[in-house]
């Protein structure tokens, strides 16, 4: 009796699986009236204040914050961001003093008025607690370096900078979330303030948080850009990518925040649509430019020449992305070098290596002049399988020119420990993989910030590559203080130097693909550089343009599937036969 039960269970397992793949019917989604939209986000961000972020929800962290808070301007991705909280900002002659006048009748979620006082307080508070929220603070104390703020009247504040800040409207203007003074002024340890719900001025107000699981956001009726189109947003934390997309298929969620994995795009069922939009993401390998032999630009350039980034895009991204540029900056970025490209020439790479004295060793691996093999390891986080794949492919490509590269997978914390943040400490690693977003490619001071030579307390170069080039630094410093028209040629020149010296090699720029269920909500707006999960998708002003272009869904080939299932059934049957019934008669109760 019991024994038969286990067999029956096994048989029905097979039958049900063999029942074929049909898309399960989505459950009761209210058709057009979008009063509730459920979004799957990759991680839990505590109570969503700029100071208590865990960055677990990357790449949605910034978009989430911008649902609850506002910045003076919106979307630092463009050269001239749209005025948002601020009506206008007029710079002084030397661009060092910016006078910002706020919009009329701005209020916080708790009804308090939003005044210039709050703006002044925000700037000062960010600078004071730079450690707690480096992501935003470094645009205050670091680039451009803020000096002090002065309230002129109810709606005007004047901000003083140590040096000219020509791109104030972009950074920090379109990036820094303004925080309420009456809430934060007596908070001494911002990163521990995870208890209460955040008070912002944005289109949505957080009304309920279930730790590590979900958020409930309600539309802010009094939002100055008009009442948001969706009454309630339910954000569900789903860390496992497969779980997130299967939840989308079964209708448990209406949109998934993260990028759709390339292989899944054409597997999604009919009632799910995919919108495309540039997301300014890049995956690159960065050398430890202070540690021989990687301080030799010829070696770095040779390795860059040996990498076929188009092959990487075709294999790892299945064509859904653009090959890396030697000049680093994302092709769609306003600052990118017009004639940017990637030189793939293994032959020239071999010549360069010979020329630089790295002759071929006995076992097919080149050796440095001192005689030790050209073997180096690339640190990669074990939680980015796509990047691991890319490094494995690059390892085989680089092997062709006699350089041995081995990926070393580490869990995130160990990996970061191998990259100390102390400027004057030269780290041990050879190279490491990292992903960068809009922050690097669109910020007007991106290159300055990431690749300026270490020291001088400026920038972040020492932790990225420690690359130092006098000419590059001079150009960067000059660009930082020049207006956009004068800045562009400077940035282009910097990118040409970068292309030649290759302190970092960009593998590819993945395309942004975002899946959503149109029946649940069709007002998604593709916001350049943000994908569809942006505050604009919920504001009447932008929504009427209708959904983004959709990618039609190709039918999975059924035929092959059936043969596969039959194979599985056969295997299980064989096991059962092996354990077949014995001859001895069955036992009857005495």
């Amino acid at each position: 009796m019991l024994r038969r039960a286990t067999l029956i269970f096994a048989v029905c397992l097979i039958v049900l699986v063999a029942g074929g793949m049909h898309t399960s019917a989505p459950d009761d989604v209210s058709a057009q009236e979008p009063e509730r939209v459920r979004v799957a986000i990759p991680g839990f961000e505590n109570n969503m204040t700029p100071f208590t972020l865990t960055f677990a929800a990357l790449p949605n962290t910034h978009d989430l914050i911008m649902l609850v808070y506002d910045s003076l301007f919106w979307s630092q991705v463009k050269e001239n961001p749209e005025p948002w909280l601020a009506e206008e900002a007029t710079p002084s002659e030397d661009r060092r003093v910016w006078t910002v006048t706020l919009r009329e009748g701005l209020t916080w979620h708790d009804g308090e008025p939003l005044t210039a006082e709050d703006v002044k307080f925000s700037f000062e508070y960010y600078e004071r607690f730079a450690g707690a929220s480096g992501r935003y603070a470094h645009h205050v104390f670091d680039v451009p370096p803020f000096e002090r703020a002065e309230v002129v009247d109810e709606r005007t504040v004047r901000l003083y900078y140590d040096q000219p800040a020509p791109t104030f409207e972009i950074l920090p203007g379109a990036d820094l979330p303004i925080i309420p003074k009456h809430v934060w002024e007596n908070v001494e340890e911002p990163s521990m303030a995870t208890e209460d719900l955040p008070v912002g001025s944005g289109p949505y107000e957080v009304v309920e948080i279930v730790s590590d699981q979900s958020y409930r956001l309600q539309a802010n009726e009094a939002y100055f850009k008009g009442r948001p189109t969706v009454d309630e947003l339910e954000l569900r934390v789903v860390s496992d990518p497969s779980a997130a997309f299967s939840a989308l298929r079964t209708g448990e969620v209406d949109m998934v925040g993260r990028n759709v994995p390339p292989d899944l795009v054409d597997q999604l069922p009919g009632d799910v649509e995919v919108a495309e939009e540039t997301k300014f993401e890049s995956t690159q390998m960065l050398f430890n430019a202070r540690k021989p032999p990687f301080d030799d630009p010829r070696l770095r350039k040779a390795i860059s020449l040996a990498i076929d980034s188009q092959a990487l895009v075709d294999t790892v991204l299945l064509g859904r992305g653009r090959p890396g540029l030697d000049s680093f900056i994302h092709p769609d970025s306003p600052w990118t070098l017009p004639e940017a490209g990637h030189e793939y020439d293994p032959e020239r790479a071999r010549e360069l290596l010979d020329e630089a004295g790295y002759s071929m060793g006995p076992d097919g691996v080149r050796q440095t002049p001192e005689g030790d093999n050209l073997e180096f390891s690339v640190l990669v986080s074990s939680f980015e399988p796509q990047t691991i794949r890319a490094v494995q492919l690059v390892a085989r490509q680089v092997d062709e020119i006699g350089v041995s590269l081995t990926p070393e997978t580490l869990d995130p914390a160990t990996l970061r420990q191998r990259r100390p943040t102390d400027p004057d400490q030269v780290p041990e690693y050879d190279a490491y993989m990292s992903g960068l977003e809009a922050h690097a490619h669109v910020d007007p001071d991106g290159l300055y910030y990431f690749f300026h030579s270490p020291g001088g307390g400026k920038g972040f170069g020492h932790t990225m590559t420690g690359y130092g080039n006098q000419e590059f630094d001079a150009l960067a410093e000059e660009a930082a203080v020049s207006d956009i028209p004068e800045r562009k040629p400077l940035l282009h020149e910097m990118q040409r130097i970068f292309a030649e010296e290759a302190p970092a090699i960009v593998f590819y720029y993945p395309d942004g693909q975002f899946a959503y269920r149109p029946e649940a909500y069709d007002g998604w707006v593709t916001d350049f550089g943000h994908g569809i999960f942006t505050k604009r998708s919920f504001l009447p002003e932008y929504v009427q343009t209708g959904g983004a272009s959709t990618v039609e869904e190709s039918s999975a080939n059924r035929g092959l599937l059936v043969t596969g299932i039959v194979g599985a059934v056969a295997l299980l049957v064989i096991v059962a036969v092996v354990v077949r019934r014995r001859k001895t008669s069955e036992d009857t109760e005495e």
């Binding site: 496992d240 497969s242 074990s382 399988p385 794949r389 492919l393 085989r396 990926p407 080939n557 596969g564």
Partner: protein, 885 residues
Amino acid sequence: MRFPVDAIKKWVLGSGTRAGAPRKPSASRAGGSAGRTPGLVGGAFLAVLGLVALFAPVVARHDPQATTGRPYEAPSISHLLGTNDVGQDLFAQLIYGARVSLAIGLLSALVAVFIGLAVALVAGYYRGRVEAVLMRIVDLTLAFPFLVLAIVLAAFFGRGMLTMVVVIGAVMWARPARVLRSQVIKIREFQHVVSARAMGASPLRVIGRHLLPRLSALTAAQFVRAANVAVLIEASLSFLGLGDPNRVSWGTMLYFANTNSAFLTDAWLWWILPPGLALTVAIVGLAFLGYAVEEWADPRLARPATWRTARRQGGARGAGRHTKTIERTPGAVLEVRDLTVQYEESVRAVDGVNLTVGRGQIVGLVGESGSGKSTLAMALLGLLYPPARVVEGETILDGRDLQTLRRAELARMRGREVSLIPQAAMNALNPAYTVHRQVAEAAALTRDEDAAAVRAGELLELVGIPRERHGAYPHEFSGGMRQRAIIAMALANEPSLLVADEPTTGLDVVTQARILRLLVDLRDRLGVAILLISHDLPLVARVADDLLVMYEGRIVESGSRKEVVDNPTHPYTRALRRAFPGLHGPRQPLSSTTDGPSDLPNHPPAVRSRSAQQDGLHPSKNPRSRVILELHHVSNVFQRQTLLRRDPPVVAIDDVSLSVMPGEILALVGESGAGKSTVGRTILGLRRPDTGRILFEGQDLTDLSEPALRKVRRRMHLILQDPYESLHPGMRVRALVAEPLAIAGLSAGERGPRVVSALEEVGLAPASRFMDRFPHELSGGQRQRVPVARALVGRPRLVVADEPTSMLDAPLRASVLELIMGMRDRLGMAFVFITHDLATARRVSDRIAVMYRGRIIECEETERLIEHPRHEYTKTLLRASEGVL
């Protein structure tokens, strides 16, 4: 000389059953064991995986790590299982994956079992605090969620293959350690290990030569089980992303499949299922193999058992054939007519037996073990199990032939008409229920609950158990009291026949006498017929009205008690009678070498004032150097203690003093549990005395260091009880006898001739015939002579013989006693002869010391002690062994 496979198997399995002990009815040899089929299947699975892993390059056409196709290709001819997210051939990855998964699995299992075995040996051998601390660590590690520990360690110490193996091994050692330690403790008490330690063998030799070989089977089983878990952990770690993604293994395949949401696409069929099933096949293969090895190591798990008792050919079915009236001899309760019981085709355990038991009559059935008397008893009760079955004959009880009854009817007869007092009734009571409840349960068959409870009380009192003890649990009763409870249970439903199978074995002489008196008393009062089965002729002869002697399944002699005892006709009965030396009549002439029995030892006044305590010390007037061994006020308290817990102390031996002269045999006599063996072990230094001093050849052993004590032990020797158990079955006779010499450090050349002479001295001539045999290839007699040869080869000054003859049957016992007396007379060796049988002691010893509850209550020259014993307990002992009650 063919390799002794089944001997090694039998010995390695540490089969506990004594040679010749009757097998449990439910066990049967025939039929495959449960583990055989899974074992074969498991082996097949692993063989296939092993081959595939070995010949991976041949089997898989592609390099697993090369991009040999477009990503996400569906299965095709070129790619049998399609390709993964970077176009690597999945089939190749599956094949190469076998290498990593199996390698890590097996290697980490090796690490785990290696650490586990080391911990088990140290804890098991040294016991005491060391064991307590180690076991506490084992418990802690076992309780800790080992997968979480593995995650933490893998995250910390990196993902290299070697670190992975060490991490998994370090997490899994606790389970094998716990299992193997309990086995080490068991084996440590095996007699050949105790003998080795008694010979002064170093711990290394004892562990290497004696402990390890017997652990091999269980270690193998633990290894396979550890590998099973290791493969699972490796896969789980890789799946969680904590393995090394650059290594091709099934776990990593599943990791990339999961992160690429394969199971949302059709790809799950050829990307998730194959590695998952491959993992399952590997793990189930190991599990099946592990189970088969475990079963091989402990056959009890395997023997098929059925609860359907065997019925006579056509017995049950033929019942309806004819209800011929059965002529009954008047007054007979039980009539057995040419009953035959057959095991396999040829073996007839019971061959044409006829017997009748009249009402109120006690019929004794005597025979050596293996003569079929127990099988006959089981046949009467209808409790024979396949392959044993009754082939012909009738057993008529109160006019009904039991063999023709259907099982249900027979079941109703049991306990009502005929009931059984089983062998070794010591553990025939369920430890989990009170004695009263188990007796009431039997009585409840023929009456309601309350009446049964009252009846049980009456019965227990009838058999002499005081009312206040009725509610106790079996473990709170002595052997004798448990036997009485079983008898009460058997009488619960006023059966007309009581079958008592060896009712007094294992009891000491005094209790045996009381149980027999109880049976006689019950026969007189209740008129119940009793079939009394035993191997002890004199014991049965005391109470039986008629006697039957059974030899190899047939009744060779029957008649009234007087006829069979006084003038036995069959030669076997005569041999049986001679084997039990009577207490009176001429005593074997003592050889003349000893200088005559010495008088009562006189002691310094302080000791004398002690009450009836008589010391076994020789009169002090003999010069100390002549005395071989002296014990002064030695006492030893046994206290089980763990790290923090101490059980109440139990006094093993209390203030024992004795001495032995060269060429003298001192017998230590007393009931089991009186402390005789403890004295023996304390003499050899296997147990340290708590108080008192031990002198051997004038040297004080009490505070010697362990190595120094081991040297002294080389001049002593220990002979143990079980001839089979005390010989290491994996060693040939040559090595067995030479072991004391090897321990003393003699070279092979020096050992050879002395072994030959020793063998010939004990009658194993020509020695060359026996030198290269294994113990199982010797007859019973030859096997018992080897330990004696081993005893005399090293010419020890003192030999402690602990019940050397109690397990032997009569003829063999006599020859061993002669050997011992020979060693005393010719080689002047001193003996401490430990036995519970006063008759044997009288026959062999010069002086007898009687022990009772850990104290020597009387020590006297043998004849004087027998003629006029002083201490009350000695008198009861004498009366008991003469059968006069």
